[in-house]
């Protein structure tokens, strides 16, 4: 914890700065708003000789992730960053990265997917990738971005996990907003991340480290039909289960180095709460502010910030919710034609089998960067108090901040 320095950085700069301290072998990226600052800053580090990284300026996001997959398969630490349509263009490669079990780290500056074209924040991009087999961490502020971009390597490379990790930060709200960030020394970061560890696999030439090496050739991900594909998917399902154990291990180690403790869920004022909101990312800062206001007025309000969305921390959620009477879920993405937003659906299905479960309502908000003000959040708490009072949810899905 010694030697930490406070630096003013926006979320993108925090991602670039911690990645500089990690000093990965390969960064391959293509600029897209609001992620551009990450790779712009990082390319400056490369030009100034502050890192040993091979910077690959590719012609598309599809190539960016493809390059990272090749580099990670060869044994490198590989980083990239993108947003919205860039992530959409990476689509097929996101599944390949996870199924080949390559612990790539990718920062997502969350931005609304086109169309109509929009550069501002919502979670439609990363929510679309929720089934791609990546671990997803959502950040509330630049400090969390900085810390997650360091811890992500150790989580993804954990021998039981071996999966790529997305660090999600809200576009503009975090990516372009200057905040104070406590930074570790380069030495502390290096000591924490260490060298990339490799699992051992038995390929056609016998036991070897899981990386492409001409001395002991390996074939990764060849044609895999009815007879093997299902088994490989089982391994990915299992890896996500094991990540539920690995992530707290890494977080505990990071807390020792940094003094900052992270968990799957960050509850606030939940001990006697009667109404609470659950959500991801920067909105939870506003919710925190409103909870403080409501508490000062005697309202028993609480909040649960979900930091890790994949793997979904179901048991932890049940425990944190406890006897809470009414829970609102803040979704910053719509799932067209679905019963509700993606976070709401998963929260609801987790509680289906529970004897004690809260009344649950969904609040879709902030699409395309629509401002979610404290007064809107206050309004949401007021509807939750009504739900608690009446003992039923009159409107399962509400749209907060839309006209009409």
């Amino acid at each position: 914890m010694k030697g930490q320095i406070l630096i003013g950085m926006n979320g993108d700069e925090a991602a670039a700065y911690s990645t500089k301290q990690v000093n990965p072998e390969v960064v391959a990226a293509y600029p897209i708003t609001p992620q551009t600052i990450i790779v712009e800053r990082f390319s400056e580090y490369v030009a100034d000789g502050e890192v040993d990284t091979e910077f690959v300026a590719v012609e598309s996001e599809h190539s960016a992730l493809s390059s990272c997959i090749g580099a990670a398969a060869a044994g490198a630490r590989a980083f990239t960053a993108t947003a919205a349509n860039g992530l959409a263009l990476m689509w097929e490669m996101t599944y390949i990265a996870s199924s080949l079990r390559l612990p790539i780290v990718m920062a997502i500056a969350n931005r609304a997917l086109s169309g109509p074209i929009n550069i501002h924040n919502d979670h439609s991009d990363s929510m679309g990738a929720r089934d791609s087999g990546w671990i997803q961490i959502y950040c509330e502020n630049s400090q969390e971005v900085y810390d997650a971009c360091i811890a992500a390597w150790r989580i993804g490379e954990h021998p039981d996990v071996q999966l790529p990790v997305m660090v999600c930060l809200d576009g503009f709200t975090l990516s372009h907003t200057m905040e104070n960030v406590m930074t570790l020394t380069d030495e502390a970061v290096q000591e924490f991340v260490g060298k990339r560890r490799f699992i051992t696999v038995k390929g056609h030439m016998g036991e070897t480290e899981f990386r492409l090496n001409p001395e002991v050739p390996l074939t990764m991900g060849p044609l895999d039909l009815q007879d093997y594909y299902f088994e490989h998917k089982m391994q990915q399902i299992d890896a996500m289960e094991l990540a539920l154990k690995a992530i707290p291990e890494v977080d505990a180690e990071y807390a020792k180095v940094s003094g900052r403790s992270y968990d799957f869920l960050h509850p606030y004022r939940m001990e006697d709460a009667e109404v609470a909101l659950l959500g991801l990312g920067s909105t939870m800062g506003t919710v925190h502010y409103v909870v403080d206001q409501l508490r000062s007025e005697g309202v028993k309000a609480g909040l649960i910030k979900m930091r890790v969305f994949r793997p979904f921390p179901a048991e932890e959620l049940i425990e944190v919710v406890g006897d809470l009477p009414a829970l609102g879920v803040l979704d910053k993405a719509a799932s067209f034609g679905a019963p509700g937003g993606p976070l709401y659906e998963e929260v609801k299905s987790v509680f289906y089998d529970e004897d004690r479960r809260p009344l649950i309502a969904d609040y879709i908000h902030g699409l395309g960067g629509r401002d979610t003000s404290p007064s809107m959040i206050r309004g949401v708490y007021e509807t939750l108090m009504g739900i608690k009072r009446e003992g039923e949810v009159p409107e399962k899905v509400s749209y907060v901040g839309v006209r009409g």
Binding site: R101, G203, F210, L218, G221, P222, E231, A239
Partner: protein
């Protein structure tokens, strides 16, 4: 079933066998037959074969490794002296 379980398989979809053990020759319907009386040893069939199944012998003639030949007929199509014919596999 004696195939390995998901716990036994290496992670990362790593292939446990060499592709040489995967004999794709049984995919084919037709197979090439070379008439060496007409063959000029130009080796174009060897170069054109997408599977690398046409080998060059020490005497300069080519031969087809039927363990891997999928019967696509490219060799017969490309042969400048038309000494390769595709015949139905038995």
């Amino acid at each position: 079933m004696s195939e390995p379980t998901w716990r036994e398989l290496p992670r990362g979809a790593v292939s446990t066998k060499s592709s040489t053990e995967y004999e794709t020759g049984d995919w084919g319907v037709d197979q090439p037959e070379i008439d060496r009386r007409k063959c000029t040893k130009c080796m174009l069939c060897h170069f054109y074969c997408p599977e690398g199944a046409v080998r060059v012998r020490e005497d300069g003639y080519t031969e087809v490794d039927l363990r891997y030949c999928k019967g696509c007929g490219i060799c017969a199509e490309e042969c400048p002296v038309k000494c390769i014919t595709m015949v139905r596999k038995k």
